[in-house]
Symmetry: C2
């Protein structure tokens, strides 16, 4: 199987209550591709970087089975830059600075070898750019997953709604689900969004876990309570990388399989927040993931006693 992802590769400056970094690798596609590479190969990466993006990071990506033929490198230009500061509760943040740089004119053209992927993860981007990628495939991928954010609901709602029609799974957070649907109840919000195109909806709730909706079914995956949470940046993208990476690895896109994918996504996101940026995602091995997954299972499994009445 093969997984394609499109999204930003960037530099981030991040301040959290636990510290700050002035310049660290970031961007949705960075987190997605890196996480997915633990599950499946090849990972086709579509993005754009400036001349300043470190070659050693790109080399490390290649070693992990990430195909960089779709990463446009612009000489003499700078990579996308984002600077943000998290509030004390880590659940909200302010964007202090955004320099689009190379991203301003990003118009991805897929290499021939990228045009028949099995699973596609559209990282958060202008909806029309996400749609333009879908239109370049030679055949319909088996699964298209799309992430987006409230910003596009504010400034490009029509485009967003058109792009959502093209995908099988939409991943957004709880506030975005409320904004997109106009419904406060997440169950009602999901019912509405599931009429807009996607057959599956994942609502990400950060430290409060993630919900998967399909028809009138719902599945919930908690987030493991962690001793150390340093930086939530990229956690949603890491979730997406684990989710899609798992699905591409098993090739089963049923609701039951999606439940596992949500669990793997949550597990990987738990690693992400333990250090700044994607650092933690560079140092994991299979044992770390298995051990964490076992903790996850301990957290949510029990032998139900439903015979009390």
């Amino acid at each position: 199987m093969s997984l394609l992802t499109v999204g930003t590769m960037a530099f981030d400056a991040i301040e959290t209550p636990f510290g700050k970094v002035d310049k660290i690798i970031g961007g949705a596609a960075t987190f997605i591709a890196l996480t997915a590479s633990y599950f499946t190969r090849p990972v086709f990466l579509v993005s754009v970087v400036g001349e300043d993006f470190p070659q050693e990071t790109l080399d490390e990506f290649s070693r992990r089975g990430i195909d960089l033929a779709g990463v446009e490198m612009r000489k003499g230009e700078e990579s996308f830059f984002w600077k943000g500061k998290y509030h004390n509760d880590l659940n909200t943040r302010d964007t202090l600075e955004t320099r689009l740089n190379v991203l301003a004119t990003f118009n991805p053209v897929l290499p021939e070898a990228f045009r028949e992927p099995d699973v596609v993860m559209l990282g958060n981007l202008t909806p029309s750019v996400q749609a333009s990628v879908v239109k370049q495939f030679r055949r319909r991928p088996k699964l298209i997953v799309m992430d987006t954010m409230n910003f596009w609901m504010d400034v490009a709602l029509n485009e967003l709604v058109e792009t959502i029609k093209l995908v099988d799974v939409l991943t957004i957070n709880d506030e975005e689900a409320r904004q997109l649907s106009g419904e406060y109840s997440l169950r009602r919000a999901a019912n509405k969004i599931l009429t807009m195109g996607p057959k599956f909806l994942v609502i990400k709730k950060g430290e409060h876990g993630a919900l998967l909706f399909h028809e009138n079914q719902a599945f919930f995956a908690p987030a493991l309570p962690l001793e150390d949470v340093f930086d939530p940046t990229g956690a949603g993208d890491t979730f997406a990388g684990g989710f899609c990476g798992y699905l591409d690895a098993v090739g089963d896109f049923s609701y039951e399989s999606m439940k596992n994918a949500v669990v793997y996504g949550s597990t990987m996101a738990g690693f992400c927040v333990e250090k700044f940026g994607p650092q933690r995602l560079f140092e994991l091995n299979e044992k770390d993931v298995s051990r964490r997954l076992q903790k996850y299972l301990d957290l949510s499994f029990y032998r139900p006693n439903i015979s009390v009445f």
Copy 2:
């Protein structure tokens, strides 16, 4: 087995984004006893009310196996009154008015028949009053569960810490756990609180579910995403009623049994929020509870595929 609960019985005036009521039955012990009565009998109720508390509600309690011999009825006085308004997200609220009335001089004296309960649920009250109840038991109950709130951490921390030492299970919300421990991470907060006396800690997170901590283990029970949420008042007490009611019914106070208790607590709390005050808790039958529990199991159960690596 037998369950004893002590706490307020009150009138509430409640405003939520979905409506308002000027006077409805409320109080921690009302929600706890009513919910527990679905699981176990007798439920010994210890509280105080004024002459204004409706006799038909008391009669209904008696019909449900709730023993009111410990409810002091004060002639010529009024019941405790609370008025609050919920914010748009329903997760925060302002107290607009509190009239202690009969509660100001509440000094419970347990009837003889109440002094050997198996399970005790100390509803949110002045910690010294909670402690005075524990001191009246002829033998140590098999399980003592205690609820409290941030108010007592602000104004009576020493008393609170002394009372916490007497109990087996403490139930508080996430912000309270952070305040009591001085730790942001709930895992670290739990580690600290579990050195303060209780062997089990339940952290209630409202619509985000509940966490059970014991030694270095953790179990999470999600809240079912509901179509209609009208009023969160009493949801925490309803949780406590289901939690203790279940445990008293099965007589098993192991960690595995507590997991079931958390699930039953969450399930019952889900009913509570669907109407104002405890209304919904008066109309349930066993089928409603079983059906809701099945939905709960669908939400959190799956067949793990941990062989992807």
